[in-house]
C-alpha cells in the first residue's frame, strides 16, 4: 500500500537536494542559512515521525531562528527571456501538458486509483488519496517535461530551488499557523473568547444575534487564520444557545452560512498564510511582507460585501 510516508520521503529528498545545492551556490551570500533551513525541513519530512514531540519542537525553534535571521535568494542558472520566448515558439501548446498532468492525476487519483485494491489491500492509503496522487502526478509531470524539453539533468531541482527561494521562510508559515492553532485549542483560548462575546453582547433578538455570530466568525477567523477553528467556538457560544435555541432559527442554514461568514475573515488576514501570504511571495509582490499585502487588499472589498450579504441571507432565510 502506498501511504503518505512515501510522499513525505519524496519531499524530504527534494528539500535535501535544495539544501545541498544552496550550500554550493556561491552567488548567495546567505547560502549557509538557506542550506540549514531547507536541510532541517528535509530532516523533518524524512525523520519527523521518529522524533519525540519535544525534539520536533526544538527542530521548529531552529527553523524559526534561521528564518528570523533571514534567507538569501539563490541564483541557479536559468534561461534568458529571449531563450524562453524561442522555446515557447518551438514547443507551443505542448508546454501545457506537464502542467495539466498534476491536477489530472490528482483528479484520477481520488476518483479511480483510490478505489483499486490488490489482494484485498488498497493501492493507496484511503485516508489521503489526493496527496498521494499529487506526489505521483509530480513525478509523472517531471518525467514528461524532461522528455519534452530535454534540459540539463538537474534543471527541475535547480528551477524548483529558484522558486522555493522566492517563497523563502514563508514556506513553513501555513504549517506554523496550524501548530499555533493546536496550542490555542489545548490552552482553551476559544472557550474564553466565546464566553467573552456571549457575556458582553445583549442577545435581545435574532438580528443582533445574526450580526454578532457572523461578525464573531469573521473576527475570530481573522485572528486564527482559519474558519475551522472559529466555527466550534462561535457556534457553541452564540449560534446554538441563542440563534437556534432561543430564536428557533433553522440549524442547517445558520451553520452553513455562519461558516461562509468565517471565510470572509479568511480573505482579510495574513494569518491565512497559504491563501494570502504564499501567493504574494510566489508572485513577487513588492509589498509581500506588509500586513495587508496586495492580495489581501484586492480581496477586502469583496470580503466585506460578502460578510454583510451573509448576515442578510442568514437573517431572511433562517428566521
Amino acid at each position: 500500500m502506498i501511504t503518505l510516508d512515501f510522499v513525505y520521503l519524496l519531499a524530504g529528498l527534494v528539500f535535501a537536494a535544495w539544501a545541498v545545492l544552496s550550500a554550493m551556490d556561491a552567488a548567495n551570500p546567505r547560502r549557509w542559512i538557506n542550506a540549514g533551513f531547507w536541510g532541517l525541513l528535509a530532516f523533518s519530512f524524512t525523520f519527523g515521525d521518529r522524533l519525540t514531540d519535544f525534539a520536533n519542537g526544538l527542530l521548529v525553534i531552529a527553523l524559526v531562528i534561521l528564518g528570523g535571521i533571514g534567507l538569501g535568494q539563490g541564483q541557479p542558472k536559468t534561461t534568458t527571456p529571449t531563450e524562453r520566448a524561442a522555446s515557447a515558439e518551438r514547443l507551443g501548446a505542448k508546454l501545457f501538458i506537464p502542467a495539466l498532468i498534476i491536477p489530472v492525476t490528482a483528479l484520477l487519483g481520488t476518483l479511480v486509483l483510490a478505489k483499486i485494491e490488490i489482494g484485498g489491500t488498497p493501492l493507496f492509503d484511503p485516508d489521503d488519496p489526493t496527496l498521494i496522487a499529487l506526489g505521483l502526478g509530480v513525478l509523472l509531470a517531471v518525467g514528461v517535461g524532461m522528455a519534452l524539453i530535454r534540459p540539463p539533468l538537474m534543471a527541475p531541482v535547480q528551477e524548483g530551488r529558484r522558486l522555493m527561494d522566492a517563497v523563502g521562510w514563508a514556506a513553513i508559515l501555513p504549517q506554523m499557523l496550524a501548530a499555533l492553532g493546536a496550542v490555542f485549542a489545548l490552552a482553551g483560548v476559544g472557550e474564553v473568547v466565546g464566553g467573552l462575546v456571549a457575556d458582553t453582547i445583549p442577545m435581545n433578538g435574532p438580528l443582533i444575534g445574526v450580526v454578532t455570530y457572523c461578525l464573531g466568525m469573521a473576527l475570530f477567523t481573522i485572528i486564527m487564520g482559519n474558519a475551522f477553528a472559529a466555527f466550534p467556538v462561535m457556534t457553541a457560544a452564540i449560534a446554538l444557545p441563542f440563534l437556534i435555541g432561543q430564536f428557533e432559527g433553522d440549524v442547517a442554514i445558520v451553520c452553513a452560512i455562519g461558516m461562509l461568514a468565517g471565510f470572509c475573515g479568511t480573505l482579510m488576514t495574513p494569518m491565512a498564510a497559504n491563501f494570502n501570504v504564499v501567493p504574494a511571495n510566489l508572485l513577487e509582490l513588492p509589498d509581500r511582507n506588509r500586513m495587508l499585502n496586495g492580495v489581501i487588499r484586492a480581496q477586502i472589498p469583496t470580503a466585506l460585501i460578502m460578510l454583510v450579504a451573509n448576515m442578510a441571507l442568514m437573517y431572511f432565510l433562517a428566521f
Binding site: 523533518s44 519542537g57 509530480v138 493546536a182 480573505l267
Partner: protein
C-alpha cells in the same frame, strides 16, 4: 483571560512587522505558559502539531515541475495564447477563471486550481498579457495589482464554491460538530445553503472584475505622461 495574551502577541507582532515565524512561536509559548502548560509541554505540543501538519507543505513538491516549465517558456506561451484571443481583457479572463474555479470547487475538485500550480505559471501571466495586448506597456503598480487580483480570484472562487460539495472538510466539520451536540443533519441539507452565498459572490466579485478593466485603462492613461512609472519590458512573474 490571561490566556488571550497569545492573541495580543500575534496582533502586536504583525503590526510591528516582526518576522511572522518568530511572532507565531512566541505567541504559542506565551499561550501555553499562561494556559497552564509547562515550557517543555508547550514546545512538545507545538512540535508535535508541526509534525502532524507536514502535509500542508507537500504542495511545494510542484515547484520543480513549474520551474522546469517556466525555464522552457510556459509563461511566455501563456501570454502568446491570451494575446491571440480577440476580445480578451484582464477582467474577463479573471472572471472566466473565477467562475471555473467556483464550479469545479462546487463539484469537489478543489485541487484543480491553486497558487503554485495555476496562478503563478498561467493565470497571472495571462492576465498581465491581456492588459499589455490592449494597452501596451503598463505601470508597475498596475502590474502588481493585476497579479494580486489573479490570486484573489483563485481564493474567492474556491471559498464560495467548495461548500456546495457535500464531502468537503468544512461541511463535514459542521456535521460532526452538530452531532456532538445531539443535532443530526445531512451534508446535503448544509451544502444546499451554500448556494445563495455562491450566487451573490459571483455577482459581487464578477462586477468588481468587470470594473477592474476600466481601472486598468485609467491607470495606464495616468501613467502615460510619467515615463518613469512605466515598465518598458514585459517581464513576467519570474523576473
Amino acid at each position: 483571560m490571561l490566556v488571550l495574551l497569545g492573541i495580543a502577541v500575534v496582533v502586536v507582532g504583525f503590526l510591528a512587522r516582526i518576522n511572522p515565524l518568530v511572532v507565531i512561536l512566541t505567541a504559542a509559548i506565551v499561550t501555553g505558559l499562561t494556559g497552564g502548560l509547562g515550557a517543555v509541554e508547550t514546545i512538545s505540543a507545538f512540535g508535535g502539531a508541526f509534525n502532524d501538519n507536514r502535509y500542508i507543505s507537500i504542495v511545494w513538491l510542484v515547484l520543480p515541475v513549474i520551474g522546469l516549465l517556466e525555464r522552457a517558456g510556459l509563461q511566455e506561451q501563456a501570454r502568446r495564447l491570451i494575446s491571440s484571443v480577440r476580445g480578451a481583457t484582464t477582467g474577463r479572463l479573471l472572471l472566466a477563471y473565477f467562475f471555473a474555479r467556483q464550479v469545479t470547487a462546487a463539484l469537489g475538485q478543489t485541487k484543480l486550481g491553486g497558487h503554485p500550480q495555476m496562478v503563478r505559471p498561467l493565470i497571472a501571466p495571462m492576465a498581465e498579457a491581456a492588459a499589455e495586448t490592449r494597452h501596451g506597456p503598463i505601470p508597475d503598480a498596475t502590474r502588481f495589482r493585476i497579479r494580486s487580483h489573479a490570486a484573489a480570484a483563485d481564493n474567492i472562487g474556491l471559498f464560495f464554491g467548495e461548500d456546495i460539495f457535500i464531502a468537503i472538510a468544512s461541511i463535514l466539520l459542521i456535521k460532526g460538530f452538530l452531532e456532538q451536540n445531539g443535532i443530526i443533519v445531512q451534508p446535503l441539507e448544509l451544502s444546499v445553503w451554500a448556494i445563495p452565498t455562491a450566487i451573490v459572490a459571483l455577482l459581487v466579485h464578477g462586477t468588481r472584475l468587470v470594473l477592474f478593466d476600466r481601472r486598468i485603462a485609467r491607470e495606464v492613461a495616468a501613467g502615460e505622461g510619467d515615463a518613469s512609472a512605466r515598465s518598458t519590458t514585459s517581464s513576467g512573474a519570474g523576473e
